[in-house]
Structures are given as structure tokens and as C-alpha cells.
Symmetry: C2
Subunit: 385 residues, 2 copies
Amino acid sequence: MNNFSFFNNTKILFGEGQIANLKAEIPTNAKVMITFGGGSIKKNGIFEQVTTALADINWVEFGGIEPNPHYETCLKAVERVKAEKVDFLLAVGGGSVIDATKFIAAAAKHQGDAWEIIQSFGGAVQNALPIGCVLTLAATGSEMNPTAVVTRADTQDKLFFNSDFVRPRFSILDPQTTYTLPVRQVGNGVVDSFVHVLEQYVTYPVNAKVQDRFAEGLLSTILEDGPKALLEPKNYEVRANLMWAATMALNGLIASGVPGDWATHLIGQELTGLYGLDHGQTLAIVMPAVWTYKLAQKREKLAQYGRRVLNINEADDAVVAEQAIVRTREFFESMGVKTHLADYGLGAEVITPVVEKLQAHQFTQLGERGDITPADVAKILELAL
Amino acid sequence: MNNFSFFNNTKILFGEGQIANLKAEIPTNAKVMITFGGGSIKKNGIFEQVTTALADINWVEFGGIEPNPHYETCLKAVERVKAEKVDFLLAVGGGSVIDATKFIAAAAKHQGDAWEIIQSFGGAVQNALPIGCVLTLAATGSEMNPTAVVTRADTQDKLFFNSDFVRPRFSILDPQTTYTLPVRQVGNGVVDSFVHVLEQYVTYPVNAKVQDRFAEGLLSTILEDGPKALLEPKNYEVRANLMWAATMALNGLIASGVPGDWATHLIGQELTGLYGLDHGQTLAIVMPAVWTYKLAQKREKLAQYGRRVLNINEADDAVVAEQAIVRTREFFESMGVKTHLADYGLGAEVITPVVEKLQAHQFTQLGERGDITPADVAKILELAL
């Protein structure tokens, strides 16, 4: 096991009806801005649940945050925060809304150009408005971590930052809020959370038994209940297990003391920034290609994953590892998420732009060993056609 | 899955050499009191590592905290805290030292009789001194939770309290600190952490897949590496896996959203309070008896445990459950911890005193269903002779 430090102070309120307990988590006399996305929460009753729970707390709203939230939209929200003297942000939505809210929280307190927050990967953040979340999608884990990803629409840059200042103070996770999600978002969410675990697990062994078994437990849960969420969208237990698994998948716990890959996420981010693919779609395309390209280095953990999670009972590690890649691709497809660039009308023309964006963003040493160069990324993308 | 709230803000610094990073975690200008036990840390170099790391921070020391720490000892420490104007407590030791330090932290800020802290189960705690820990024993999980157990020597009452105010701000977990532990403490620690997981897992199913698999992952890890710690006391990886498993076993995570039993702990506490048995010894005696007595109600989870953790491949749940009890007892014995009262020179004469203490402490509805009465406890203890 590698040395690590672990810290996570987000309070979780989990379960049906928990939105009703919202008010107690927000400071008295706060001026709240409710941030949200395309407005589905106004149709499915969640907005009303939230505002009812806020009772006499003052609030304003800021809607219209896009999937892969735009920097430009966040800046408009910051203006609103300042004009309305908002001092608490309440994100009601999925990862995009929460990520945007994290950026708004940091930018509202930032002196100078807000893009410095991104350019410094969060190092420039010295303070932020407090954030609370009402989660409506099991996917990104943003509800219990210090990370956010925003996209600059004018330059097609999709980039992340980290800061303890933007960790949510609390997140309310009511699985019922996910009952009415479109199938595409359910599929993307399952792929996203599954890949989060894999990025922290399919690397090389360091004899971190707790972390490995926690990762395997999350993978098994998502594998079992992901497909059920498509068949039985209002099955509370299925939604609850997926929601808690997605949160635990990226809250720092299973990352502690083990190597992390993240090549799939970083390559995938460029595909989204340049071509607008859903985040989950890019992961489903890139991960099998990364694994195929790095099969020798990842064989041992792929075989462990194949045996313990996928129940592939073969003696030869190489056979298990290759079958594990096939089976993972099949799982993504079974969730309605296609796994080849061609499925999205894209081809070899994407390779050079993606590689150039990675170079511009200085992501030139990817993977758990830092040995995936831009030239390797080109070959990986060829495997993803 | 049941509804839950989860919160844990203890920072963990894990790994070899982490004690050197101690100073950065303590407020500048703090007046620190280092609390510790029988003095082994002065022989094995840990005390020196700690004081070297503290550098120019002012500190005083308070040693001599007993296993199953005495309320009376804690009160002496509180006097010292006040006399020396201590404003930060640094616990260097295992669960007993940390638990005592939690009580000292609360009592130092408590108005009125300090025993109110215990009588209110912690509800009377309104404030506490900040605490940091340097852990030297993988066992109780106290390093990352809000719970402490203290014993009143004059009345033989061993009782717990909970308070968010006494959660450690940080805990340093260096597996090397456990290399020189006596075999008896290693065995007790393994049994304690294993039973912590079981108390939160062998109850009744609520389809909490993540929590179940996390529990199973911890059990498998302790089962594999516990015996190795006896054979290879300086095997870093073994000590690291046991240490992290013990911390994760009782930090609130696997308890979230599932029923808890705790009958074994509550009965065991009375055995320690009355007869001075080690905590781990009492658990190894009581748990197989509780399971045997409650076999019908626990059959389903015992069978899940038997199959997933112990790899008992039988079709019949009843057979797997019974074998699981036998195998668990064998595991405790393999760690050098005997599982019958007779092994410790005790017999049926303990039954009435234990039952009377439980009644005096108002623990009259034990177990995950609250249906274990004092009369049931008498029958359980008969099964433990």
C-alpha cells in the first residue's frame, strides 16, 4: 500500500424524504442561490420539494446550467451572486450542476481573472462560498469530492480543478429523485461511476486489500443493479444502491494508497470538449482501447477484476484479462452506451485534434505510470475507431 | 437500504514515516499534552519520533493510562490540563489511550460533574479540546470515530459515550508502530476489528449492497492478514492492511443504512468491567454464543458471510450458517484468543452479575431487533461457558 492522506468532511443525508431536512443544514439568515440545469426539476417536483423545505430562508434561482457546464455560464452566475449578495449556493442536479456551482463558489471569491482557477488546477483558490447539494443523478461523485470540470465554450477546453474550499458542506441523496431520468442519462451515469472505480483499480497491484475489495464491491454492485435501473426505473433499492455506489466511487476513499490511471478521463474530456459527446460515451469508447493498448502492464489487475468481479474462471491471467475487456465493453453496450467512435459518426479525423488539445493542456504523461505519451494516445484512439 | 446520515471529518495520514508530518497538523502556539499508556512508546522509539516531530511546539506529557481506561485517571489528566493551560491533546497509543483522551477533552470543557458525560451517553458534551492521534494498535477504530469507552474503577462500570466534539482532528497511522506489539494485543486487536464489522453485518438483510460488500472486504482482509501478523510481525504490508481495515471497520461507513447488533459489545463490556477480561477476549466469548442463540433470525446474513467470506460452498443456508459460527470461533482461537468463559477461569457465577449490570445500565433490549432481554442474556452466557 502506498502512503496517503485522506480527508472528506461532506455530510451525507441519504434516503427517501431527506430533502425535507434541508433547512437544518443551511446557516440561518443565509441568502441562498439555487443552481440547476435545463429545468427538469421544475417538472418532476424536486424544485418544489426544495423550496418548500427551505421555508423562510431567502433564495434566488439560477437555471440553465448545461451538461459539461460552460465557464461563460458560470461567470453569469457569479455576477448574479454578487448582485444579489448571495452567501450560500445550493446545487440541485447532477454532476454538471454541482461542478458549475463549485466553480461559481470559487470564482465569486476570486480576485483577478476567474480562468486562473482552472489554469492553476485549483491552486489559486483561496476561499469559496459554501455549497450544499441535492443530487438528482448517480454518476460523477461530485457531491462528495473537491473536484469540478468546466468547459470553455469559445476554445473547446474542458478542464478540471480541485480545491478543498469547494467541497460540499452537505449533500442530500434521495434515490427517488432519479426515477424520471432519461435512459441515456442513466446509462451514462452507470458507465461514469463504473469507470471511476476502474481508473483507481485496473492499474498495478500494491497489495492494498481493503481498497481493492471496496473497488470490487462497487463494481459488482453497479454491474448487478445498473441494468436493473433501465428495466425498473422506480425500483427504490436499485436506485439507492447505484446512488451510494456512485458517491463512494469518487470520494477519495478507494483512491487512497493506490495508483490512479485517469488516462481514459483525460482523453475523454478532450473528445467532449471538441465534439460534444456525452462524458459517459467518451469513457465507454476510450477505456477498452486504453486497456487493450496497455494490456501487458495491466494484466494482473485486469485478471483480478475478471475473476473477482466478472466471475471469469480461467487459469491463465492473459485469457482472463482479455475476456475482462470484452465483457466490460459488453456491459457498457448493455447500458445503451456505444463503445466505438464510429458509433457516434466520428473517425480517424479526431486523432490529431485530440492529441493537440492534450498537448496544449500539458497532459503528455498519462496513465498510472505516466508513460502514455501523445504518440500513444494516437494509437489508443486508433483502437477506438 | 435504510435512510442514514454520514459525516466523518477526521483527516488520516497513513503510512511509514508519517509521524514526521505531525507538526503541520497542530495549531501554531498550541500547548500540547501528549497522552499515553504504560510507557512502551518510550522504549520503542515512538515517543521520541513524536517529540522530534513536534519540534518547537510546547508540550507536556501524561502517561499511565490503563487498558480499559479509568474515569479516575482521566480526571487526574483533566486537572493537569487545567493547571498547564493545555489547549491540544495528542493521544499516542491504541484505543484505550484515544478513548481516555476523548473523555479528557470533553471533561476539560464540561461544567459540573464529569460523569454526566457518560450518563448522557455524550449528549451533555457541548464542547471539547481538539484531539490528534498517533495510532499504535490496529483494533478499536477510535482514531476515526466519535466514540469512547471508559471504566469507573470504583463501581466496575464500563460505559461509552459519543460526541462529534471529540472526533479526532487528525490521526496518524504508521503501520510500523505496531511491529513490536505483544502477541496478546495483536490477537485482541484482530478479534476486535473483526467483531466490529460483524456487529454491523450479521443482522438481517436490507439489500445494502455497497455496505455488505465493504463489510465482506474488511472481513476477508482481516481473516487473511490477521494470522500473518502473528507469524511475520514486521511485515509492513500485513500491518498496513490490518491497520486500515480496523479503522474502516468502525468509522461509521459500513454502519450507514444497515441495522446494527452490538449485543456482543454490550455484554462483553460488563464482563470486562466486572472481571477485567481483555475487550477482545470478551468479544470472542460472547459473539459465537449470541449467534447460536439467535441463529434463526441471523441465518440469512450468516449464510451470506459463510459463502462470500469463508467460502463455505453448501447449498443449505442452515448448514452454512452453523459452519460459519464454528469457523469464526476457530479463527478467534487461531489468533490466540480463547472463546469460552471457562478458558478464563470463569463459570456460571458470572451470569447474574452481568445481567444485573446490564439492567443497571438500562441495556435491556439488545440486538438489531432490540429483542434480547436480560433473560436472553442469561441463556446466551450459558452458551458461552
